[in-house]
Amino acid sequence: MTDSQSGVSFTALAVLLIAAPIIPGVASRTKAILTGRQGSPVWQLYADLWKLAQRGTVLSTRTTWIFQLAPVVLLATTIVAAALVPLDGRVSIVRFAGDAVAFAGVLGLGRFALSLAALDTGSSLEGMGASREVTFASLAEPGLFVAFATLGVIAHDFSLSAMLGDAAGRVGASGGAGPSLVMVALSVFALSLAECSRVPVDDPSTHLELTMVHEVMVLDHSGPDLAMILYAGALKLGLFSAILMNVLVAASGQGKWSFGGAAIAALVASFVGMGVSIGVVESIVARLRQPKVPLYLAGGSALALFGLILVLR
């Protein structure tokens, strides 16, 4: 990697760290416009994070160190995962053969820590949330890996930088992998809604503990801890929007931009695009009943599997 490329990679990471909190804001703004409400401003999450960082924390008397460590681990692993994704559409900061496995692995560590923190409170509601979170995550994981495998087969390399960078687009356009890439994109979008706890799997705006999944896990977190969890959630949305954007660009058969500024602009555009799509989905689709969620996830995974079979043929 040349210096200028690595400069772009680091700039892209910085842009993610700064701009990702806009995604939930864009989503709720879109929802507000579509449903004819006033709504909160786009930068609401920044204000919330700032407010929470100033606040003190309330800790449950039952909790142990893992409760306090979990938000830290969650945020750290999400940032490390970001370093593995080619946010600028070309190369990631850290890349190696099979780094897609590491991407899923570090996100898994964060989820493990947060689920343990939920059980640490001894609350039945948070236990329920943790149970649902790990259930849905374990069903979404195979689909995500099928999507990675499909991209890898197209790019002839099992690293995210090749799958999402130039190689997939180049080979994909000439090798007739377009339909596969479209299926992978649909599948990644469906699964990222589950991974990031949005409708139709989870509803971040619900107010009833019994119906929550991700939100109920963090009921007892407050102050800077809650800020870290919310921030990590926004970063994860940003990661999936970058992945999705790159798959779509590859599917379109267009070559990648060579200019660093264009890469950064595309990244920010992907955040806005993700926010708008989430907002649209949440405005027109109701949340699924819990027993239906596995079907939804299986459907999302099956899409990617069709894509894989098409390129294996």
Partner: protein, 657 residues
């Protein structure tokens, strides 16, 4: 080689020492046992380490009028990798077990020396199994291993459950031995002597039918020991019944001798046909998915861990299957990736599974129960045990920076590289979602165990009165935890450990491992270290932010309900319920509903569905023969007469030329 034998001698001497110095001097006996055993493990381990470091295999032939010809022992790189794991984990389990047994002695149990003697015998026998180079020594050591395991499983034979588990184990292990006898007999018919060298030399001249028979019999014989689905049914009851340090050795090491056997057969045969690779890969996938699914359904913490051994054997088999496919399709890179993943996962699983079993042993000792629904909140009362357990849990679910991740990463890469080929082997890529499902379910399962047992509040008095076991006792487990973190943060260490064997299995001579593996290993170190560094940085930031306010302590939010009780916590059954209901009848959960209560039971599809009904049918058939045995002399004389008459009749009429 003499150093190795001296080490084994010391291990045996440790057992004998414990047997001799007992009764009122039992404390001195414990000291003798631990010191001799540790020195023995270090001595024998040094011999194995030397083989790996210098790359020069050892061998020793004992001539003379031994049964079965000369006895040959040897250590090559494959044996050495297994020996290091066996001796390291064995020493840790023995030290932990000594403290456990001392506690039992304090409660009035006498024959703890016998457990120690059997344990030392078992350890020496396993070491001998992987060092044996003739059929007679191998099968002899194999049987000593099987019998001493049985003796250890039924250590608490006063409980009916334990005796039943022991019996099931004994039947399974002897069925396995029978298959091995058949395998070696088939193979040896073509060989000049009973030594492994002769078997290897005879391998090319084996007919196609004989090769198929050898490969299938090896899969059955070694498969029973390794415990993959559907040959796993003896494993969960036996591992739950044995004392904890014995379960740790059995789950971590003894079942791995099955994996060793498969790899040894592969080496001696010089590769296997493609169908065998597919079969092993398929067995690995089914064993992995079903193992973790059945683990989720368990209430007993040790049974749960035992089912996870079934799952991890599945992951190991997936690696070996990919490796065998790589060899048969002449793709050395795929072969190396697969074997490296399988072999490294064998070592890793030995470390984290014994760590987890020692943790469950500490919990059992402190609380007197293995039922997770009765536990809870132990993290506060047993901080060290919790630390070890949570490290083991993170290692087994395969997340960085722990060792389980490294080997799963290798297996993923093997599956993916197979997908790159143009041959039919590219279908192996469909193993990727299966492995992803396995690790996802494992994460769910270990969130459940760690959370329900250690976090929240105590559900019963068993848990609320728990007292942490003395710190010194837990040192062996912490050493295992340190090994898990080291191998996870520095994957190059583990990969270097297995690389010589992997080259041999893949049949590539002196070619190094693929470059992406080497560079990937150092990048995983980078990922691990940056995760740690970033966490530390954020932790310090959090402390700095928190300094302005002191954290308030309030009860957990319960939707404004102000009298929550420990019984209102999510239980282990309710935690696992959504996942199990998705998989329906496959999960093997039976639900009993009444108007006031609901209970779930975990049943084993193979044991309760196939093995026991079959057993009962054989038993009934055997009972029908009972009428022949009346115990009266004149009846027996009649039988003898009848047999004679039949024989005479046969001679007179049947054998006419």
């Amino acid at each position: 080689m003499n150093v190795f034998l001296a080490g084994l001698g010391l291990i045996l001497a440790a057992g004998i020492g414990a047997a001799l110095v007992r009764g009122t001097r039992a404390r001195a006996g414990d000291a003798v046992y631990q010191i001799l055993l540790i020195i023995g493990c270090i001595t024998a381990g040094a011999a194995a380490g030397r083989v790996l470091a210098l790359g020069a295999p050892l061998s020793l032939t004992i001539h003379g009028a031994m049964p079965g010809g000369d006895w040959v022992l040897g250590i090559d790189s494959l044996s050495a990798v297994f020996l290091l794991a066996i001796l390291g984990v064995g020493a840790a389990c023995a030290v932990f077990g000594t403290h456990d047994l001392a506690a039992e002695r304090a409660r009035g149990r006498r024959a703890t020396w016998f457990t120690q003697l059997s344990f030392a015998t078992l350890l020496a026998a396993i070491a001998l199994v992987v060092a044996a180079r003739t059929v007679v020594v191998f099968l002899g050591a194999w049987e000593v291993m099987a019998i001493s395991s049985y003796v250890l499983i039924v250590a608490h034979h006063e409980e009916e459950n334990v005796r039943r588990s022991g019996l099931i184990y004994l039947v399974a292990t002897h069925t396995a031995t029978l298959a091995l006898f058949a395998m070696f007999a088939t193979w040896d018919a073509a060989a000049s002597s009973w030594s492994f060298d002769a078997l290897a030399a005879a391998a090319p001249s084996l007919g196609p039918g004989a090769t198929i028979a050898v490969l299938l019999l090896a899969l059955v014989g070694f498969g029973f020991k390794a415990g993959f689905v559907p040959l796993h049914f003896w494993l969960p009851p036996a591992h739950a019944a044995a004392p904890s340090h014995v379960s740790a050795l059995m789950s971590g090491i003894v079942i791995k001798t099955g994996i060793y056997g498969l790899l040894r057969v592969l080496l001696l045969l010089g590769g296997a046909p493609a169908w065998w690779g597919w079969l092993v890969l398929g067995l690995g996938v089914s064993s992995g998915v079903l193992g973790v699914l059945w683990a989720l359904a368990q209430h007993d913490i040790k049974r749960l861990l035992a089912y996870h051994s079934v799952e991890n054997i599945g992951i190991i088999l997936m690696g070996i299957g990919v490796g065998a496919l790589g060899v048969s399709y002449h793709a050395p890179v795929i072969a190396m990736l697969g074997f490296a993943g399988g072999l490294l996962h064998t070592v890793n699983h030995a470390l984290f599974k014994s760590l987890l079993f020692l943790g469950s042993g500490a919990v059992y000792r402190a609380t007197g129960t293995r039922n997770m629904e009765e536990l809870g909140g132990l993290a506060r009362r047993m901080p060290l045990t919790w630390l070890g357990f949570v490290i083991g849990a993170a290692a087994i679910i395969g997340v960085p920076p722990f060792n389980g991740f490294v080997s799963e990463w290798l297996v993923y890469q093997g599956l993916f590289s197979a997908g790159q080929t143009s041959e039919v082997s590219r279908l192996a890529i469909l193993g990727i979602p299966a492995l992803a499902l396995i690790s996802g379910l494992a994460l769910a399962c270990f969130t459940k165990v760690a959370g329900v047992v250690f976090l929240g509040t105590a559900r019963t008095a068993h848990a609320s009165d728990a007292i942490e076991i003395p710190r010194g006792n837990y040192l062996p487990a912490l050493a295992l935890a340190a090994a898990c973190v080291t191998l996870g943060a520095m994957p190059a260490l583990g990969i270097g450990l297995v690389s010589a064997t992997v080259r041999e299995l893949a049949g590539v001579g002196n070619v190094g491992l693929p470059a992406p593996v080497i560079s990937g290993a150092s990048m995983i170190s980078l990922v691990a270290l940056s995760t740690l560094a970033l966490s530390t940085l954020l932790w310090l930031t959090r402390r700095a932010l928190g300094r302005r306010w002191t954290a308030r302590r309030e009860p957990t939010w319960a939707c404004a309900y102000d009298a929550p009780t420990p019984r209102m916590q999510y239980t282990s059954s309710s935690f696992a319920a959504p996942l199990l209901s998705i998989f329906g009848p496959l999960s093997g959960v039976r639900v009993e509903r009444s108007t006031t209560a609901m209970r779930t039971h975990a049943s084993d599809a193979v044991l309760d569905g196939v093995a026991l009904p079959l057993w009962r049918r054989v038993h009934r058939a055997a009972l029908r023969l009972r009428g022949l045995q009346q115990g009266r002399l004149h009846l027996y004389l009649l039988y003898v007469m009848a047999a004679l008459l039949v024989l005479l009749g046969y001679l007179a009429f049947g054998s006419r030329p």
